[in-house]
């Protein structure tokens, strides 16, 4: 399962986007945790590139976690760096608790942004950005579907 989260508000699903993707992933019978993590990190990287450039701390708040670990390092800047660091730690911890030790989520990878305003930036189509775009995470899923599936499949082949 791949899921997306923005802060405490889950946009799990995005919904058809992930449903379609999860069906295709389920079709890769020999998928491995390594492949899922590679795919998750790919989505995170692509989504970060899509984040509007005037939201540096939002970009920094990206994380990818899986049942036994995660890529969660974040360095925030400016006046709200302390509060964003605390919020980041809280969101990541909550997401970790959700999948850790749960057999159902053994191969699950969660990609998200911890910034409290992530969802609003994501959904505000009227905002004008010189570089970057709203729907930054959704676009990372939809526009990189083939690369995501290839990453999962490629790791499976390497292990066989």
């Amino acid at each position: 399962m791949l899921a997306m989260t923005t802060s405490a508000i889950r946009v799990e699903g995005l919904d058809d986007v992930l449903e379609d993707l999860n069906k295709d992933i389920a079709g890769i019978k020999t998928r491995t945790r390594k492949g899922m993590i590679t795919a998750g990190l790919l989505i995170q990287r692509k989504a970060q590139l899509n984040v509007p450039v005037d939201f540096g701390n939002l970009r920094a708040s990206a994380f990818t976690i899986w049942s036994q670990g995660g890529s969660v390092a974040a360095q925030f800047e400016g006046e709200d760096s302390a509060s964003m660091s605390m919020e980041h730690a809280r969101v990541v911890k909550n997401e970790m608790l959700g999948i850790k030790g749960n057999a159902l989520f053994d191969l699950a990878v969660i990609v998200g942004f911890s910034a409290a305003y992530a969802l609003y930036v994501h959904e505000d189509m009227t905002a004008k950005h010189n570089v970057g775009t709203s729907k930054f995470l959704e676009k990372a899923f939809v526009e990189n579907k083939e690369a995501i599936l290839f990453a999962i499949q490629n790791e499976a082949w390497k292990d066989n």
Binding site: V11, V17, Y120, E123, M125, V142, E143
Partner: protein, 136 residues
């Protein structure tokens, strides 16, 4: 092939959700939420978000997954909410119809309840709802 938001605009106008570029009442717009003296506070805007080629059903007949967002702006919280629900009702699970040169297999919402966004600079309430259309 129209951008999906153009077709959705027509559907919402036909459903009575508003009038395209109206100067008063509910004014419907595409990929734009106008503001100013001659524009009402009550605006429904439809935004093309993402589009991708979907599964191929037959030779030369690819389907397209076209994502769009309906955004409602209004001075009154409840009226804005009711309008976004009205748009949702007009669009969600609408299946098997033709619009322009496209055949629509179906439209569905992507998320649950309409999402409230922060009020704009003029204190107007904003609700958004995301949809996906599968068309051919």
């Amino acid at each position: 092939m129209n951008p999906v938001a153009i077709d959705i605009k027509d559907i919402l106008v036909e459903a009575g959700a508003g009038v395209f570029a109206a100067k008063n009442g509910w004014s419907i717009h595409v990929d734009n939420e106008p503001d100013g003296d001659n524009v009402p506070d009550t605006v429904v805007s439809i935004w093309n978000t993402i589009s991708s080629e979907g599964k191929v059903i037959g030779v030369n007949n690819p389907t397209f997954d076209s994502y769009f967002q309906v955004r409602v702006r209004g001075l009154d919280y409840l009226k804005a909410y009711e309008k976004v629900r009205e748009c949702r009702t007009a669009l969600d699970r609408k299946t098997n119809f033709r619009k322009g040169d496209m055949f629509y297999a179906g439209i569905s919402t992507q998320d649950g309840e309409p999402l409230p966004l922060p009020q704009d600079k003029k204190g107007r309430f904003i609700f958004v709802q995301n949809f996906k259309a599968v068309r051919q």
